[in-house]
């Protein structure tokens, strides 16, 4: 898995934020788009594309998209 593809998948789950606004350093929970529904969508996206089960606590403990990417890789 590579971070570019991960960001693409991440962007697909957002309605307002375009992919050009996202970088590995983006603090995803501060996006205007972020909500509890987005969190569920990201968890489902990771489950579907990477077959990794992450939790709400994992999301809370991650700040940037890179953090989340590293976490998924380590699972």
């Amino acid at each position: 898995m590579d971070i570019k593809e991960f960001i693409q998948y991440f962007a697909d789950e957002l309605d307002e934020t375009g992919i050009e606004e996202l970088t590995p350093e983006t603090d995803f929970k501060s996006l205007d788009d972020w909500s509890s529904l987005t969190a569920l969508s990201i968890i489902a996206m990771i489950d579907e594309n990477y077959e990794k089960d992450i939790t709400g606590a994992d999301l809370r403990n991650s700040t940037t998209i890179q953090d989340l990417f590293d976490l998924v890789q380590s699972k």
């Binding site: 529904l37 969190a39 969508s41 968890i43 939790t55 709400g56 606590a57």
Partner: protein
């Protein structure tokens, strides 16, 4: 005579290897019933069987997603005085990420298999006059929670099915009702919570005027609906939810 007793009644309980189903099996046996317990995992089912008081109980392994398994189950069933459909699964997924396999799995376990089993049991005349059928629905049937849509659809479906069933079986003196639980600790539904943070779970708990429920809170309602104490109750839904849907 204690009208709440299940003495001498034979009761089928699906989803009996854990959660509400396991608690129901144990409590029904405590009330004098012979129970036929069904679940996917024979080892877990056996562990519940070992906790049943009294004699004359039976285990039947069955994967409710398999039509063949369901038909085998129906063929092996003895004559029944009651059935309790506790088997249920959920997946926390927003609508836009639902896959066909999610729909198929959740529907077959939660809604299709209870309908098929009732159909077979009634057709084979394996449920006695005075019998009672109980479906475990959920407050999700009308109390929306994000990520829960397919589960909610199956739980609403059970309520609708039970009403028509109640009308059709009333001439035979057989009753059909639903229980609509709120969040109960120690069930398969807890897995859905792993997708929430501890703060979110705590917020959820605070919404419940009486806190989260226990499996026995539901089992006691089921026993009422199975027993002769509820002989004039049919086609209804008993909400047991610690008061969460009050507001």
């Amino acid at each position: 005579m204690n009208q709440f007793s299940l003495n001498g009644k034979t009761i089928l309980i699906t989803g009996a290897s854990s959660g509400i189903g396991a608690a129901t099996a144990i409590e029904c046996a405590n009330q004098g019933a012979h129970v036929v317990i069904s679940g996917r995992n024979l080892e877990k089912l056996q562990a519940v069987y070992n906790q049943l008081s009294g004699k004359g109980h039976q285990t039947l392994a069955c994967d409710l997603c398999s039509l063949e398994d369901v038909e085998n189950l129906c063929d092996q069933l003895p004559e029944l005085d009651g059935m309790v459909f506790c088997a249920g699964i959920t997946r926390t997924i927003p609508v836009k990420r639902i896959k066909q396999s999610d729909i198929d799995d959740i529907f077959s376990t939660n809604l299709t298999s209870p309908i098929t089993i009732v159909n077979q049991v009634v057709k084979q005349k394996k449920i006695n006059k005075g019998g009672s059928i109980v479906f475990i629905s959920s407050i999700s049937s009308s109390y929306a929670d994000m990520g829960n849509s397919v589960y909610a659809a199956t739980k609403g479906g059970l309520i609708s099915f039970a009403k028509v069933l109640a009308l059709e079986l009333a001439p035979k003196g057989i009753r059909a009702n639903c229980i609509r639980p709120g969040f109960v600790a120690g069930t398969g539904m807890t897995e859905g919570l792993s997708r929430l943070t501890e703060e979110q779970i705590e917020l959820e708990r605070q919404k419940y005027p009486l806190g989260f429920g226990e499996t026995n809170d539901i089992a006691n309602g089921i026993i009422y609906l199975l027993s002769d104490a509820s002989k004039w109750v049919t086609g209804t839904t008993l909400t047991i939810d610690g008061g969460i849907t009050l507001k």
